[in-house]
Structure formats: structure tokens, C-alpha cells
């Protein structure tokens, strides 16, 4: 497995380097300027010049890029222009919150997909199929800002069972019961679209596998349908679903921006929104590059999991 990972490393590094250039250029192509944000509407040219000088924005873009890259390579993520403080600290605090939220959502999505997918092929009930299909369509069609508001109005306002937003006051490990209550609505909101896509893929993969000759043979040997599904069909259906799962992780991180805003969850999504709206160049650059890095890591992990689940990939060296 290690040689397999090593083979993927150079391309991942090149992708990251190209992404750093792209991110640096894109951020500067966005209309607006951190000096405008800082100086405000009534600023004099002298004020604007003083701020530009203070932020180090008076050098050439190329010099600014290499300065940023050099600092990154030496482990210095820089200082935020506007949000304030060390970017490493800001990203660290936000990343933990986003990781907990996205991790919970992923867990919910995977469990929901497994239960629904397996139940769907085991029951062979048309009614269950129709219900699952309708819920899936709704979950994909409704954007998080709609499902988020519906969940808040239902479970926090009309029927006040769960907090409308925020993070647990004693941290995530202080009181797990309270943490679960704070996580329930945002994690569910974030998980719904991913769960729907995973359910569809898994159900289809299970049905394809159920048509394979080895299933007919197993049935002929008198093995129960449930046992065949759980011990033979499900493991064979998983590799394709794992690939989709990798793509869904990217979707979860993107969706976190909206969900964090709706549920006042102070993660990377809220930080991205704040950094972009204030044109905080160093912070936006680090956050975008981080998202590229996370996506690359997730893809590598997905490929490794795929190879682990499907020996043909390992042995064939394909990836």
C-alpha cells in the first residue's frame, strides 16, 4: 500500500503548487480590495496609502506570491489583514469545528445510506422503494438553506427540542449529550444531500450485484437472501460507492459554508465567508489552498480504500 501512496505523491504536490498559483491569481481578480474594506467609505487618499503600505500590498504581485509561498513552505501561514491574529490559530479553531460537523454529517450519511440501501433491496417492497425515492429526490432538490430553516423552525421554534444554533458551551467533549443536541440539526442538514446520493449509488450497486451468477448459486445452495446481501453482495458493492463517498466529502465541505451560516457554527465555512467578503487575501489564499489539499487527501484516501476493498486495483496497479 505504501508504494501505491508514494506513486500518488508527486502528482498531488504538483496539483497543490498549481493550485497555489491559481488561488493567488483568482483572489486578486475578484473585484474589491482589502484597503477599501479597511479604509471605509470616507477615507482620504492618504489613509488608503498608509493602509496599503501597512499591509505590504505595494510590492509587485509576483514578489508578493513568492513571499507568500516561501512563508508557507517554512510553516508560516501568515497573519490575517482584517479578521486579525495568526492564520494558523484561526484555521485551527475553525477546522476543528468543521471537522466535527462534517465528520458527524458523513457518519450520518453513511449510516443512513447503508440502512436504507440494504433495507431497500431486502424488503423488495414497492412502497418502501417509492418512499425512499421520494425522500432522496427531496433531499437532493432542496438546498441546505431551505432544509436548514425548516429544521430550525420545526425543532427549535415550533417544537423547542434542540438549539437553533451555536456550539456547545463546554466544548465537544465536556458533555457528549449536550454536544449531540447542538450537532443534531446542522449535521442532519448537511448530511441529507450526501445521504441521498450515497443511497442511490449503493442501492443501484446492490441491485447490480444481486443479478450476478454467484448470487443465484448461493440462493441455489439455500443461503438466505439476507445473509447473501450482508456477507457477499454488500462487500462487492462497496468499492464503487466508496468512490462516490470521496466526491461527497468535497460536497460536504462546500455545503458547510451555508450550513455554518444558518446554524451559527463557527467553522471554516464562516471563516471563508468572512475572509472573502472583507477581501482578506492571506486568509482566503490559505483557506482555498487548504480545501484543495483536503480534497487531494480525500481522493488519495478514497483510492487507497478502493484498492483495499478491491484487490484487482492493488494487483493491477491501476488507480
Amino acid at each position: 500500500m505504501i508504494p501505491y501512496i508514494l506513486r500518488r505523491t508527486p502528482s498531488a504536490l504538483v496539483t497543490l503548487l498549481l493550485a497555489s498559483v491559481l488561488v493567488f491569481v483568482l483572489v486578486r481578480l475578484v473585484p474589491g480590495d482589502p484597503v477599501d474594506t479597511l479604509a471605509g467609505a470616507d477615507a482620504s487618499p492618504e489613509t488608503r496609502a498608509a493602509i496599503r503600505d501597512q499591509l505590504g500590498l505595494d510590492g509587485s504581485p509576483v514578489a508578493q506570491y513568492f513571499q507568500w509561498l516561501g512563508a508557507l513552505l517554512s510553516g508560516d501561514l501568515g497573519t490575517s489583514y482584517l479578521v486579525g491574529g495568526s492564520i494558523a490559530d484561526l484555521v485551527g479553531a475553525g477546522a476543528l469545528n468543521t471537522l466535527v460537523l462534517a465528520g458527524s454529517a458523513l457518519l450520518l450519511a453513511v449510516v443512513a445510506a447503508l440502512v436504507t440501501g440494504v433495507a431497500s433491496v431486502l424488503s423488495r417492497s414497492r412502497l418502501l422503494d417509492a418512499v425512499v425515492s421520494a425522500v432522496n429526490t427531496l433531499a437532493v432538490a432542496l438546498p441546505p438553506f431551505v432544509t436548514g430553516v425548516v429544521l430550525v423552525v420545526t425543532f427549535a421554534v415550533a417544537w423547542p427540542l434542540l438549539p437553533a444554533g451555536g456550539v456547545p458551551p463546554d466544548g465537544f467533549l465536556g458533555r457528549p449529550g449536550i454536544t449531540a443536541q447542538y450537532l443534531a440539526l446542522p449535521a442532519l442538514c448537511l448530511a441529507l444531500p450526501a445521504a441521498s446520493v450515497l443511497t442511490r449509488f449503493l442501492t443501484e450497486a446492490l441491485r447490480t450485484e444481486l443479478r450476478q451468477p454467484y448470487v443465484t448459486t448461493a440462493r441455489a445452495l439455500g443461503i438466505s437472501r439476507r445473509r447473501i446481501v450482508l456477507t457477499q453482495v454488500l462487500p462487492n458493492a462497496l468499492p464503487a460507492t466508496v468512490t462516490v463517498l470521496g466526491l461527497q466529502v468535497g460536497g460536504l465541505l462546500g455545503g458547510a459554508v451555508l450550513v455554518e451560516l444558518i446554524f451559527a457554527w463557527p467553522g471554516l465555512g464562516m471563516l471563508v465567508e468572512q475572509a472573502i467578503s472583507t477581501r482578506d487575501y492571506p486568509l482566503v489564499q490559505v483557506l482555498l489552498l487548504l480545501s484543495v489539499a483536503v480534497f487531494i487527501v480525500v481522493q488519495v484516501v478514497t483510492d487507497v480504500a478502493h484498492a483495499w476493498l478491491d484487490p484487482r486495483v492493488r494487483w493491477g496497479g491501476a488507480a
Binding site: P31, G32, D33, D36, T37, L38, A39, G40, A41, D42, A43, S44, E46, T47, R48, A50, I51, Q54, Y81, L82, V83, G84, G85, L90, A93, G94, V149, V152, V153, A156, V157, P160, L161, L162, P163, A164, G165, G166, V167, P168, R175, P176, G177, I178, A180, Q181, Y182, A184, L261, I262, F263, A264, P266, M270, L271, E273, Q274, S277, T278, R279
Partner: protein, 513 residues
């Protein structure tokens, strides 16, 4: 999975979710009892703190300033008569070239250190630093000397009389010079006010506790928590579910509905007004003609904007001054009352091309107002093209005077001494503004209004009248309505107040359920 195992799993999940205690119940059990001291007030704000923009007056900074800091004087919300705060008395020289202020001897910073005249000098000089982009920077820069030989008295010197000097003294928070590094990084805000700043968790919350050695009457609340909830719908949900007690700056569209329920009320921040206006680029070929600008002013239905967009919580006007301003003149204020026929006469024979009309995207009030302006202008044959512009880009275009023709947005500072508007507010600045309007007479009128010793005296009023006449005659900026920010409050909250700066004042506030 067998049935008992399923039931056990479901029970375990339910128990975990509901927990031994409820997060909702915990959030609701923070009051001090009926009208009593103590307890925690939880407020929601829509934007997080940006330490580098502390002096910009944005919501989070304004909340810190209201709770933790004090200024030298305070204006009452309905007048420009300075009242003592950290300055107990003052004397302005007859020629207006110096101002002596005696400081409150009992005042201490929340670190326990006594307030001195050096702290006042440091605060004013910090505010005057151009890199800090404070709104009244130009007025602060007009202070040319400081005498701090007596720790309880400071004498400010000027090269010319400054009519809005008390506006500056009302605006500038007196900060602790020993913790300026924390002030810059957002980790430490030390002032002399009734609450101590405890912490800031980015994108999450600000926390405060009562300052028990406060020199004045101590606050009744034990603690204040300010939560950052960026989505306005989520703010209202948090208020309705009892998880927050106050929404600072609640959207007008939600206030009517909240008030109808009887469990909530709206508190209008009278005295801290903002003004919605249509800006015009006077270098645009069609708008260079003042009669076209006048026609636009006559064509717009300002009352409809006040009634429909602001649900009757705004006042239609033609000049920026509120009714208590020394520059207010009721007759001049309705000079361009809607008159479609007159607008048609003024436009007679003129061919006006389609005019781009920009507004800040995502601001529902500005968008609705822009649509009404568009419809009104179409009635008199002037076609416009609506252009929603992202906030940061809008600000850039405003500062850079880059709008092609027309734009709709708000300005503030009209609630202060009138010269503050023409000295410090970019849309009005006589030396350079978003409309690209430069005129020697207007410059002279603005300068004369600024360089008068008594900003509320008879001579000043005469000069403000000339300023108003210039504004109405040149009409490079068409005022629409005067609006007032509002807070949405749970009925459990009593005695909430605010300053003319729009900062929340919780010194006498109680929370009870």
C-alpha cells in the same frame, strides 16, 4: 438485528440526543429574576468583530464600545447638547482655538489604573492615525496641541475653530494605552465602562462581565454574551426560541411580525439615524444638467419608499438633517416633494439615455427602493437599468467615484453637527466626493460651516442654512428617507438604552422570566 436490540439502540440514541439535561433548557435558565439584578443577557449580532476596523462603527466593535468604553462627553439622543461623561466640565475659548476639559477623578480602567490626561491624549492621537481609518479622522487631525501637565485636565489646541469638536469627543472611546497591542489584535479591550471585556471567539461570541469597581452606577446584569449569527432568519429563530434575548439591528420586515405576536417588541434607535439617498454622477452627460437631477428628485415617490420599504418606519425628506438638528428647516426639507408634472416640464425636450442604477446586492431595503426609483423614473420617460453590486465592489466604486450614473445607498452622520457631514462623509465631502461634484461656492459653504467656534449657535445656523441651500441647488445627491435602526427584544428584557453613536447601553438593563 432483533427487535429488542433495535429498541435498545433507538433508546440509546434518544438518550444521547436528549441527554441528561436539555441544551435548550440550559440556554433559557440565565435570567436574574423578575426585574432583578443579575443574570446574563444574550444578544445576537450579524457581523463579527474585525479588529483592524474597530473605529468603523460596525456592529461588533460598536457593541464593545458601548459596553466597555466611555467617551469624554455624551450627546443625548435627541439633541447636540454635550453632557458630562469622562469629562466632568469643559470650557471652549472664545476664539474657538482651545478647549479645556476636566476629567472624572473617580474613573479607573478595568485593570484598576486611574484615568489620566495622557490616556485621553493617547486615545485622540490613536483615533487620528490615518491607518486606523476612523470616520472623524479629519476632525481629530485638527487638534494641533495637547497640554497634559495636569493628569486630571487636558487642554486641546486648534489652528482654527472646529464646529464639530464635540462630535469627535462623543465618538472617540477612551482606551487604555498600556493594552494597545491587545486592542489591535482583538484580544484585550480595556476601558472605563460598566462591563469588562472577557473574550472574543471569532465567528462565535463576545463575552463581558460586570465591572464591579465602575466609577458610576454599577450595571445590574452579571454578564453579557453577544453571539455572532450571520443569517438574519437564524437570528429571528434564535429570538423566537428564547436562545437570545435581543437581536441588534433586526431586519424591518421581521419586526412587524414579531411585534404582532405580543412576546417581542422593537426598540427604535432614535437619534442614531441613517439616510437613504440616490447618488448622481454629475460628470455623466445627462446628469451634468442640474435640471435633469431636479426632475429625478421631483419624480421619486419618497413617501412610498418610507411606507412600503420601511413599513412606515422612515421619514421622507430632501435634506439630510434630522428634526433636532440646528440645520433643520421644515420648509426646505420638502423642497422636492413628488411632482410628476414638474419633473416632466424640467425634462421637456431632453433626451436622457438609459441610466445604470446601482445598489448593494443582498440588501433587501436598498433593492426594493431601487425598484421604486426605477418605476418612478419610467413614469417621466427616464429609463434605468438596475445593477446589483456586491458589497465590497460597491464600496470600491463609491470611494473611487466610479459609479457610471445613479446609485442607491445610505449615509450616516447627519445626526451630528452638520459640518461633520461635509467634512467626514464621503458622499458630501466638498473637496472630493462620489458624485464628482466640485464647486467653489459649495466648498466655501462647507469650510465656513466647519470653522465656526460654536457648532450650535446662531452664526453656525446661518452658515448651515447656506450649506442646505447649496445642497438643494446643486442636488448632486438626492435624499430619499431618514431611517432608524431597530433592535428586536424579548419581553423579558427591560430598560435597554443606546447612545447617539448607536451603541447599546445595558447599564440599567434587566432580564427576567
Amino acid at each position: 438485528m432483533r427487535v429488542p436490540a433495535r429498541v435498545a439502540t433507538a433508546l440509546l440514541a434518544a438518550l444521547t440526543l436528549v441527554g441528561c439535561s436539555s441544551a435548550v433548557a440550559e440556554q433559557k435558565s440565565r435570567s436574574g429574576g423578575q426585574g432583578a439584578a443579575g443574570g446574563t443577557l444574550v444578544a445576537a449580532i450579524g457581523t463579527d468583530l474585525v479588529p483592524a476596523q474597530f473605529y468603523s462603527g460596525l456592529q461588533a466593535a460598536s457593541t464593545i464600545a458601548g459596553l466597555t468604553y466611555e467617551s469624554l462627553i455624551d450627546y443625548p439622543v435627541d439633541s447636540l447638547e454635550p453632557q458630562p461623561s469622562l469629562a466632568t466640565s469643559w470650557k471652549l475659548a472664545e476664539d474657538g482655538l482651545s478647549l479645556t476639559l476636566d476629567l472624572q477623578p473617580e474613573a479607573t480602567f478595568q485593570t484598576g489604573r486611574d484615568l489620566t490626561s495622557d490616556d485621553v491624549k493617547f486615545s485622540l492621537q490613536t483615533y487620528a492615525d490615518p491607518a486606523r481609518a476612523a470616520q472623524l479622522q479629519r476632525t481629530a487631525a485638527a487638534i494641533t496641541s495637547y497640554d497634559t501637565s495636569d493628569p486630571d485636565r487636558i487642554v486641546l489646541g486648534f489652528d482654527h475653530p472646529v464646529s464639530n469638536i464635540f462630535d469627535l469627543l462623543d465618538q472617540v472611546p477612551i482606551i487604555d494605552r498600556e493594552s494597545i497591542a491587545g486592542f489591535d489584535s482583538g484580544t484585550k479591550y480595556v476601558g472605563t465602562g460598566p462591563f469588562t471585556f472577557d473574550s472574543w471567539t471569532p465567528n462565535s461570541r463576545l463575552e463581558f462581565s460586570r465591572y464591579d469597581d465602575y466609577w458610576g452606577e454599577k450595571a445590574l446584569l452579571d454578564e453579557v454574551e453577544v453571539r455572532v449569527i450571520k443569517d438574519s432568519t437564524s437570528q429571528i429563530s434564535a429570538l423566537r426560541s428564547g436562545q437570545v434575548d435581543v437581536v441588534l439591528g433586526a431586519p424591518a420586515r421581521d419586526l412587524e411580525q414579531l411585534e404582532r405576536s405580543g412576546e417581542f417588541r422593537a426598540e427604535r434607535l432614535t437619534g442614531a439615524e441613517a439616510d437613504l439617498y440616490v447618488g448622481t454622477n454629475v460628470t455623466h452627460p445627462a446628469l451634468a444638467d442640474v435640471e435633469v437631477r431636479q426632475a429625478i428628485a421631483y419624480a421619486i415617490d419618497k413617501r412610498r419608499i418610507a411606507e412600503e420599504v420601511y413599513r412606515d418606519r422612515a421619514r421622507a425628506h430632501d435634506l439630510p438633517w434630522p428634526e433636532y438638528s440646528p440645520a433643520y428647516d421644515p420648509e426646505l426639507d420638502q423642497r422636492y416633494a413628488r411632482d410628476v408634472a414638474k419633473a416632466g416640464e424640467l425634462l421637456d425636450g431632453r433626451r436622457v439615455p438609459t441610466l445604470p442604477l446601482a445598489y448593494m446586492a443582498g440588501n433587501p431595503n436598498h433593492e426594493a427602493a431601487a425598484q421604486i426609483v426605477q418605476a418612478n423614473l419610467a413614469e417621466v420617460g427616464v429609463e434605468t437599468e438596475l445593477q446589483p453590486v456586491e458589497t465590497s465592489q460597491f464600496l470600491k466604486q463609491l470611494i473611487g467615484a466610479e459609479f457610471e450614473a445613479l446609485w442607491v445607498t445610505e449615509h450616516t452622520f447627519a445626526q451630528y453637527t452638520p459640518s461633520t457631514l461635509t467634512v467626514s462623509a464621503y458622499p458630501f465631502n466638498a473637496d472630493g466626493n462620489a458624485s464628482r461634484f466640485v464647486d467653489a461656492d459649495y466648498q466655501r459653504a462647507a469650510d465656513a460651516a466647519w470653522k465656526v467656534a460654536d457648532g450650535t449657535g446662531a452664526e453656525a445656523s446661518r452658515r448651515y442654512a447656506e450649506l442646505s441651500r447649496q445642497l438643494l441647488e446643486h442636488l448632486f445627491l438626492i435624499e430619499l428617507v431618514e431611517t432608524t435602526q431597530e433592535h428586536a427584544l424579548s419581553s423579558a428584557v427591560d430598560d435597554i438604552a443606546w447612545s447617539k453613536r448607536g451603541e447599546i447601553d445595558l447599564a440599567r438593563t434587566t432580564v427576567s422570566r
